[in-house]
Amino acid sequence: MYKRDINIRTINLGRNSEKQKIIMFLKDHDLLFEEDIDYTIGVYQEDSLIGTGSLSGNVLKCIAVNGEFQGEGIFNKIISQLINTQYQRGNMHLFVFTGPENKKFFEDTGFREISSVDDKVSLLENDPKGIEKYVENLKRSKKEGAIISSIVMNCNPFTLGHQYLIEKAAKSSDIVHIFLVWEDRSLFPNDIRLKLLREGTSHLDNVIIHKGENYIISNSTFPSYFLKEENTVVKTHATLDIKLFVEYICPVLGINKRFVGREPNDPVTNEYNKAIMKLLPIYNIQVEEIPRLTVGEGVISATKVRKSIKEGNMESLKQLVPMTTYKYIVSDDAKPVIDKIRKDM
């Protein structure tokens, strides 16, 4: 078996026949080809597929090598190719989700474990100080107090429901740290979600807003959140996300409480909330679930806001969002986003 017989090709994911071969290969290695994958390579010896690897945003995933070829450097070849593609795309900070039995292989290529859940999943990053840098940055906004609360939200977009939850938290806490989900996969872009959150909370002087970046409900810590998978994977990922939160983030800010909004509709968020309520008290972090704010006969949700936008129902929209969000939605700046919502949903 000579290495010169081996070549690597980018898989055209638009071509079903090529994609199917990868899916079958992964299946033979007990892996699922995930729907959020945006780049895949295949390693071939002559015409037979002997290895594969994929990317989704800044995450490396679905990596497998045929058992017969293990120990021949194929794995490192795949990793090198994936890393180089990431750098060409401008992604320097990379993550891997893997089973703990494979952790060592990634560690050998420069990744470092930042958290793990039992024997199920291990999260690694390629920056030896990645999470420390994030935490170091957070530390600067540390404020003292008896009750230091936290909320994690996506705000797609910011509604009266979000405002209500934050106001409730702000009233019963000395400080409230809000972490905005930073993964750019929502219909409203990151900077707009942040702007509307800021404007909608500007009347509260004990609220501090942070970007969740890679470490809070991101594609790297919680991929199934975005894949909307309804299975045990969600539970594992939720646990990992919460572990990062209590191990790295809570200590630097002195967080001892977390607020969550009750989730009546979305099963993934509901599963996440359940995990929070179960796990955080173990680490002495109190959890308070706040029922959703209602208007008329239903609860207020960002989903409803997007629906009203899509239907062009401005009267209903006014009842769901604060003036700050409303002003943005009817502004010229919002046009591209609104068009996308009308087309997408």
Partner: protein, 96 residues
């Protein structure tokens, strides 16, 4: 040479080295190295990287290197390439 962004070169394949250079304001060249031959050659690998950087007038940087048994001139050329990429220079003067 002024470093502007993160620069990377090399691979994690056998006999190669992966070098990532990041500009910093802090003084000095800080190198974190991972190598299977750390005990035998760790110091020498770091020296080659540092010397190469100094020869280009770089004083402050964070370097992450994952070595897979690269020899000195491979280490040197990977470091140079990472430096050029970090400095956003695409006119190489390899002959110098």
């Amino acid at each position: 040479m002024e470093l502007k962004k993160i620069g990377i070169a090399g691979t994690v394949e056998s006999s190669d080295i992966s070098i990532i250079i990041e500009p910093t304001d802090k003084g000095g060249i800080e190198i974190s190295l991972q190598s299977a031959v750390m005990k035998q050659f760790g110091r020498q690998i770091k020296e080659v990287i540092e010397e190469t950087m100094k020869s280009k007038g770089v004083k402050n940087a964070t370097v992450r290197a994952v070595d897979k048994g690269a020899v000195d001139f491979v280490i040197k050329s990977r470091t140079l390439t990472a430096l050029y990429r970090s400095a956003d220079i695409d006119e190489y003067k390899w002959g110098e």
